[in-house]
């Protein structure tokens, strides 16, 4: 069964013909070429595919493409403004919160969802919220610091620069 879906992705209207079984993540990666959203598991646990659908964090492997018909999707490719990183992306960079980078898009999308609902999360709240995002590289230590920094900057505070980083 083929169906044409129309949705908004990163602010632009798109249409595509998909099979009934096509997942949203497959539509994004294979048909729209948005390969920043990753697939790390087949049981909806790793969180590498987190995107926002109508402003809510969703694992794009748990949604059929047809279910996104008529909805608005934000992927990692739509987070920065031109060449300027979003404060949460900048915070990940400042805190060395990514190594291989594979889980990173999902982590950033989840972090944005957390901060939307809880603008000033504690370390514990960040760790508990990240239950749906696996990272094998960082031990989460710097991801937790990055999300705290991103939240602080989004609240209008100065970045704490806990690592004393210099620009490269």
């Amino acid at each position: 069964m083929q169906k044409t879906v129309s949705l908004t992705v990163n602010g632009k209207p798109v249409s595509a013909t998909v099979e009934g079984r096509t997942l949203l993540v497959q539509l994004l990666r294979e048909q729209l070429g948005l390969t920043g959203t990753h697939v790390g598991c087949d049981t909806s646990q790793c969180g590498a595919c987190v995107v926002h659908v109508d402003g809510e964090a969703v694992k794009a492997c748990t949604l059929l493409a047809v279910q996104a018909d008529g909805h608005s999707v934000l992927t990692i490719e739509g987070v920065a403004t031109g060449d300027t990183l979003h404060p949460m992306q900048e915070a990940f960079r400042n805190n060395h919160a990514l190594q291989c980078g594979f889980c990173t898009p999902g982590m950033v999308m989840s972090a944005l969802d957390l901060v939307k609902n809880n603008p000033n999360p504690t370390e514990r709240e960040i760790r508990v919220y990240l239950e749906g995002n696996l990272c094998r590289c960082t031990g989460y230590h710097n991801i937790v610091l990055a999300i705290a920094e991103g939240a602080a900057v989004m609240r209008g505070e100065a970045p704490p620069n806990v690592h004393g980083v210099a620009a490269e």
Binding site: C41, D42, Q45, I76, H96, Q99, C100, H141
Partner: protein, 792 residues
């Protein structure tokens, strides 16, 4: 401005943060087809027939191939890169490893056939139509069971399932020391089987160019040149000049992406057959049953001590699970990367280790972060803690008493290695202070009042990184060299391309290597490009594993820069009309000593490529130098890790409340990256100690932990914030003084956590427990032993 030693933000982050990394599965080639690999559902079975006719006729299907098709085309088996010899001098059993199973399957997940179709969905649908007649046979998954008489046979070439029976050390000296010891402490332990679980599943795209006869393989590899060599020479018989291997951004590896896997050969060979690109991407459940696993040891250890609690001898007997086939470097892990580490940080004068490697009906086992060294450290630091427990001495004091003193380097161990530098005592004191070891007993009492058993555990470790020199590893059975290459290409305008045989899969080489080049050549990091991961661009490479990239690959870059500077000095001397000996190079400028006459590196480079005024009699044009570096020795990072845990008496739930790591990695180029490496290693080590364990059903041989539903990966709320520090002693035999930091966390943490758990449970009469210490295991232990606690 010097960048070495400063926390420079990573250059690679921007592309990953905007979703523009290029991982293998992100690549699509024109006309690409998709491969679905049919895998064995059985641990052991004979294949009596494979009927592919229905699948061949299914919509979109281009081809279906079996092992017999590949064999008929002359495709070879997957080679093993290390040959171990047994005690009696005989070579290890080395049974064939077909790319696709022929006649028999030997573990759940063993590849049986490949379906190639226009879409992945069509390939998968057609996979259901391939009919395989299996005759199931009894399987064995436990290595101890596999050695028993009458156990199911895994390989005809390995009677009794024994791959080899290896040993190292002086048995007579060890037995004599044990015979006269004041105390002999004994322990039986296991080192749990782990699944590496890089977040990026493996993927491979094969491509064939009919016009040139050239094959290209895009693959998730830590070492593309090694794959080119193994696949080209042994499996598909394609010469290097007609085989390009590209490993683009790699999403983690931890060892599991070192090896040459069947799927790489399948897509490359099939691309030639169907004359279109063929792509395969693992699903996570495929990763669980096809990526090489790690660890899986069963060990008996004895430590002999004199009346002053000095170690006299260590005797170790290990059974190591190899799985059903020998993965690329599997045989060296429980031997030369394990037995040689058993001196640890201690002066133990006599050591003997024997390892029986065993075939079972399980996924092959190979190097996983640490690879042999975590297993060595776990047993050593457990037996040392048990000795402290039996003697009634502070475990920190027992370690201090037996440390190799800082004045004793270079130090020759009784198990072949010569450590070049270290200061184990100072590193331990640093960790003890940071962890407030002195104040622990008060915290233990406070915890008990809250219904928690609190414990503290120490582990010290020694690591051997940058495995080398090639001549030595060759004599120990390696079928490869272990050097690294680098080319430093100064372009006409003074920008620099560095072509390195190391290959980052998350380690940040583009940043660390740029820092070294920026500081040495005196140019900004923006002018430097690090190129890796492509056999068509890089002269040669042995890749990234064993924490070798900075110590070996970084040194090769330094050696190539030395040549650039030496040639640049000659060119500058010509331009400045000075004697070469009078020209100095500093901060990117060649200067005639004692004058202000100078030429920048850029000016010299331009002269090298526009050689109008050039010493043609003496030099060739250009400024592009290559170096191959074969180290003189391993490097020896070391450290002291201290874990503090609380166990909930009612639920058995563990909280890691503090984790302190003090490490000696030699000179640190980028502290931000080094800390990140330690954090990640600690998470994997804590995961091994508390959560992770790959479990097979003993009766059926089925893999019970085949997804993230069943295999417990560490999550953010399982882990604490880590407290890190470093105590630097420089490596004495490489110019950077660096030692490597990639595996330290995974080596120290399992023993530190387990020692802390045993410390917490000791009031209950518990003296050892095996990993992973799950809440269920701890709850049962607490229930069994509760009476003594209640009586206190």
């Amino acid at each position: 401005m010097a960048t070495i030693g400063t926390p420079v933000r990573r250059r690679e982050d921007y592309r990953f943060l905007i979703g523009r990394g290029t991982y293998t599965d992100d690549i699509n080639r024109p006309g690409q087809l998709y491969a679905y690999i049919l895998r064995s559902p059985h641990a052991r079975a004979r294949i009596t027939e494979i009927d592919t006719a229905t699948a061949q006729a299914a919509p979109g299907v281009v081809a279906v191939y079996t092992g017999k098709d590949m064999a008929a085309d002359g495709v070879g088996g997957l080679p093993c890169g290390w040959q171990i010899h047994s005690k009696d001098g005989s070579p290890m059993a080395e049974p064939p490893h077909p790319v696709l199973a022929i006649d028999s399957v030997r573990h759940v997940g063993d590849p049986v056939a490949v379906v190639i179709a226009d879409t992945l969905a069509q390939a998968r649908d057609a996979g259901e139509l391939v009919s395989v007649d299996y005759v199931e046979e009894p399987a064995v998954v436990d290595p101890v069971e596999a050695l028993k008489p009458g156990a199911p046979q895994v390989r005809d070439e390995a009677p009794g399932n024994l791959c080899y029976d290896w040993h190292l050390g002086d048995l007579a000296a060890v037995d004599a020391a044990i015979g006269k010891a004041a105390r002999v402490v004994k322990l039986d332990l296991t080192n749990n089987r782990l699944v590496p679980n890089a977040m990026e599943p493996r993927a491979a795209i094969g491509e064939f160019n009919r016009a040139t006869g050239e094959y290209t393989l895009y693959t998730t590899s830590q070492n593309p040149h090694v794959i080119r060599l193994l696949m080209g020479a042994f499996v598909l018989h394609i010469p290097e000049a007609r085989l390009r291997v590209v490993a683009p951004d790699v999403g983690g590896g931890f060892g599991s992406k070192i090896y040459h896997y069947a799927e790489e050969a399948i897509v490359t060979w099939a691309a030639g057959k169907v004359n279109r690109p063929v792509k395969w991407t693992a699903e996570r459940s495929e990763s669980f049953m096809s990526d090489a696993h790690g660890r899986d040891h069963v060990t008996h250890v004895e430590l002999a001590l004199d009346g002053e609690a000095m170690f006299l001898a260590l005797k170790v007997s290990t059974i190591a699970n190899m799985g059903a086939y020998l993965s690329t470097f599997a045989p060296c892990i429980p031997t030369y990367l394990y037995g040689t580490l058993l001196a640890g940080t201690y002066t133990t004068p006599a050591i003997y280790v024997e390892t029986k490697a065993v075939f079972t009906h399980t996924v092959p086992v190979d190097a996983y972060r640490g690879a042999g060294r975590p297993e060595a450290t776990f047993l050593l630091e457990r037996i040392v803690d048990l000795a402290a427990d039996e003697i009634g001495i502070d475990p920190a004091e027992l370690r201090r008493r037996n440390f190799i003193p800082a004045t004793a380097f270079p130090y020759q161990t009784p198990v072949a290695l010569q450590y070049d530098s270290g200061d184990y005592g100072a590193t331990l004191e640093l960790a003890l202070k940071a962890a407030d070891y002195q104040g622990f007993e008060a915290r233990r009492r406070d915890a008990l009042a809250r219904g928690k058993l609190r414990g503290i555990g120490i582990a010290t470790y020694i690591e051997a990184c940058g495995i080398a020199p090639s001549a030595v590893v060759g004599s120990l059975g390696a079928r490869a060299g272990l050097f690294e290459s680098a080319a430093v290409r100064v372009h006409p305008t003074g920008s620099v391309s560095v072509l390195t045989g190391s290959h980052s899969h998350g380690q940040g080489h583009e940043t660390t290597f740029s820092q070294i080049v920026a500081d040495t050549l005196g140019i900004p990091m923006e002018s430097i490009e690090i190129v890796h991961g492509d056999t068509a661009k890089i002269p040669y490479g042995m890749g990234t594993y064993g924490s070798r990239s900075l110590a070996v690959g970084g040194t090769a870059i330094v050696k190539a820069m030395d040549k650039v500077i030496a040639k640049g000095r000659k060119i500058a001397a010509h331009l400045l009309e000075a004697a070469e000996a009078d020209v100095e190079f500093e901060d990117g400028k060649f200067t005639v000593a004692g004058t202000d006459r100078s030429k920048t590196l850029g000016e010299v480079a331009l002269t090298a490529y526009v050689p109008h005024n050039f010493p043609h009699d003496e030099l060739e044009p250009g400024l592009d130098e290559t170096a191959f570096y074969d180290p003189k020795n391993f490097t020896f990072p070391s450290g002291a890790h201290i874990a503090e845990v609380e166990i909930d008496l009612e639920t058995g739930q563990v909280a890691v409340v503090n984790f302190t790591a003090s490490d000696d990695f030699g000179r640190i180029i980028n502290p931000l990256i080094v800390e990140g490496q330690v954090h990640g290693g600690l998470a994997q080590g804590i995961g091994q100690a508390l959560l992770e364990g790959c479990v097979y059903d003993k009766a059926s041989g089925q893999l019970l932990t085949g997804s993230y539903n069943d295999y417990a990966m560490p999550r953010a709320d399982d882990l604490p914030a880590f407290t890190l520090s470093t105590n630097v002693t420089l490596c004495t035999h490489n110019p950077l003084g660096v030692k490597g930091c990639g595996e330290a966390g995974a080596i120290g943490a399992p023993a530190a956590i387990t020692n802390a758990l045993v410390d917490a449970l000791r009031p209950l009469g518990v003296h050892h427990l095996d990993m992973p210490a799950t809440p269920e295991k701890l709850w049962r232990l607490i229930q069994q032993h509760r009476t003594p606690l209640a009586a206190e």
